[in-house]
Symmetry: C2
Subunit: 235 residues, 2 copies
C-alpha cells in the first residue's frame, strides 16, 4: 500500500511505483541521486518517454527534483504543490475562504503556543522584527502583506514542527489572493493599526515565552479577520 499502487493499470503508473520503491528500499535521502532515465527505461523495460512522465509526476509532488543535464535527485519537502492544490480547490468552489480560516485558526493557535515555548532567541528576535516591519509599512498594503505572511511563517518555523510549516505554506498561495480583500474592509486607520498592534503584541508574548497570552492574541486576530471578511460580504 502506498506509492507503488496508485496506478497499477498503466506503464507510467508502474514506473512511478518502481521509482518510489527504489527510493524507499535504498533509504535515499534528500539530495541523493536517482538512476538516469536511460538506465531506468532499460531496467523497467519501458521507453524513456514512460520514465520521463513518471519523473514528472513525482517532481510535481515534490518527491523528486529535476534539473537539466543533472540526474534527478530526491527532494526536500516543499509546500509548492500543496499550495497549488488548495488554490485549485478554492477556484473550483470545492473549498471556501471561511473553511480555510477555520483551519488556519485551529493550527495557528497551536503554532503560537509551541512557538512561545520552543522559540530560540534568534527566532524571537526575527518574529518581533517582522511585526515591527508591519507597523512600518502601514501605508503600503503590498509590503504589509509580505511581512504578515513572513510573520506567520516565522511563527510556524519556531514551532519546530515541519508539518505546521508545510501547512502554513500551503495556505499562503490562496491567502495572497484574498488578503487584499480583507485589508480593504478595514477602512479606518484605527482598525488597521489595531490589526498590526495585535501582531506586535503577539510577537512580544512569544518573545516573553507567554503562550497563554499569545494564544489569546491569535484568537483575537482571527476573530477580527473573519469579521472583516464577513463585512466584505464574503459568506
Amino acid at each position: 500500500m502506498g506509492l507503488d499502487q496508485i496506478n497499477t493499470a498503466s506503464l507510467v503508473g508502474d514506473a512511478i511505483g518502481a521509482i518510489s520503491r527504489h527510493i524507499r528500499e535504498r533509504d535515499l535521502m534528500p539530495g541523493d541521486k536517482l538512476p538516469s532515465e536511460a538506465l531506468l527505461s532499460k531496467e523497467l523495460n519501458v521507453s524513456r518517454t514512460v520514465v520521463r512522465e513518471a519523473f514528472r509526476s513525482l517532481a510535481a509532488m515534490r518527491i523528486i527534483e529535476l534539473a537539466t543535464g543533472k540526474r534527478a535527485t530526491v527532494a526536500q519537502i516543499d509546500h509548492g504543490a500543496m499550495s497549488l492544490m488548495i488554490e485549485h480547490g478554492v477556484h473550483t468552489d470545492q473549498i471556501n475562504i471561511h473553511q480555510i480560516y477555520d483551519v488556519r485558526r485551529t493550527i495557528e493557535t497551536r503554532i503560537v503556543t509551541l512557538a512561545a515555548i520552543r522559540r530560540t532567541d534568534e527566532e524571537a528576535a526575527e518574529i518581533v522584527r517582522l511585526a515591527g516591519q508591519m507597523h512600518a509599512c502601514l501605508g503600503d498594503p503590498c509590503q504589509l502583506m509580505k511581512y504578515d505572511l513572513a510573520f506567520h511563517t516565522a511563527l510556524a518555523q519556531a514551532s519546530r514542527n515541519p508539518v505546521y510549516s508545510l501547512l502554513i505554506g500551503s495556505f499562503q498561495g490562496i491567502t495572497r489572493q484574498t488578503w487584499p480583500m480583507g485589508w480593504k474592509t478595514r477602512p479606518t486607520q484605527a482598525a488597521r493599526e489595531l490589526m498590526v498592534q495585535t501582531h506586535i503584541d503577539m510577537a512580544r508574548a512569544v518573545a516573553a515565552s507567554d503562550p497563554l497570552k499569545a494564544v489569546d492574541l491569535m484568537g483575537l486576530h482571527f476573530d477580527e479577520s473573519v469579521r472583516a471578511l464577513l463585512t466584505a460580504g464574503m459568506s
Copy 2:
C-alpha cells in the same frame, strides 16, 4: 502569481501555467473537459510530448484527471497526492511520527467539536456504527485499523469542512504504516478495550451533540496513543 509561475524556465513549465490559466479563465469546474493534447500542442506551439508532461504534472497534483481515450478533465480535490508527500517526508526523516500526532491532535480536536455541532443524524449513526464495528473487531487488528481510520474520516466529514477531510486523508497513508506499531504496545486486553471504548464514548458524545465531552475524549485518545508510541521506544 500562482499556478502559472512555477517553472517559467522550461516549456513544460510554461505549458503547465497555460493550462492552469485556461482552467481558471474559463472557470472550469470539476468534470469539465480540457482541450486535447494535439490542440494544445498546436496552440502553445510545442510538441505533444511537452503537453503530455504538463498534463502528467497536473494529474499528479490531482488538479486534472487523465483517462485513456477520453479527454482530460478538471479533477475533484483528493488527498492522494498529499498523502504521498507526507509519506515521503516521513520516510526521508524530514518529519517524524510525533510531529504528525501533534498536528492530528490539534485538528482532530477541532474536528470533533465541529462534528458534534454540525453532524446530521445519518452521520451520527454512521460514526456510532463504526465505533461499534471497532469493538466487534477487537481480535483482528487489520480490520480494527480499517474501522479506526474510517471513524476518523467520518468525523472529518461531519465537520462539514472539506479541508479537514483533506488533511485527515493526507495523514491516513502514513498512519496505516505506523498504526500496527501503536497497537502492539497495548499488550493487555484492558488497554486495548480502553482504546476502543474511548472511541465508542466519543461517538456517543458526538451523537448527543456534546462537543465538550467529545473534545475531552479525543484528548484522552491522543494522550494514550502518544504514550503508547513512547513506550514502543519511538522517540
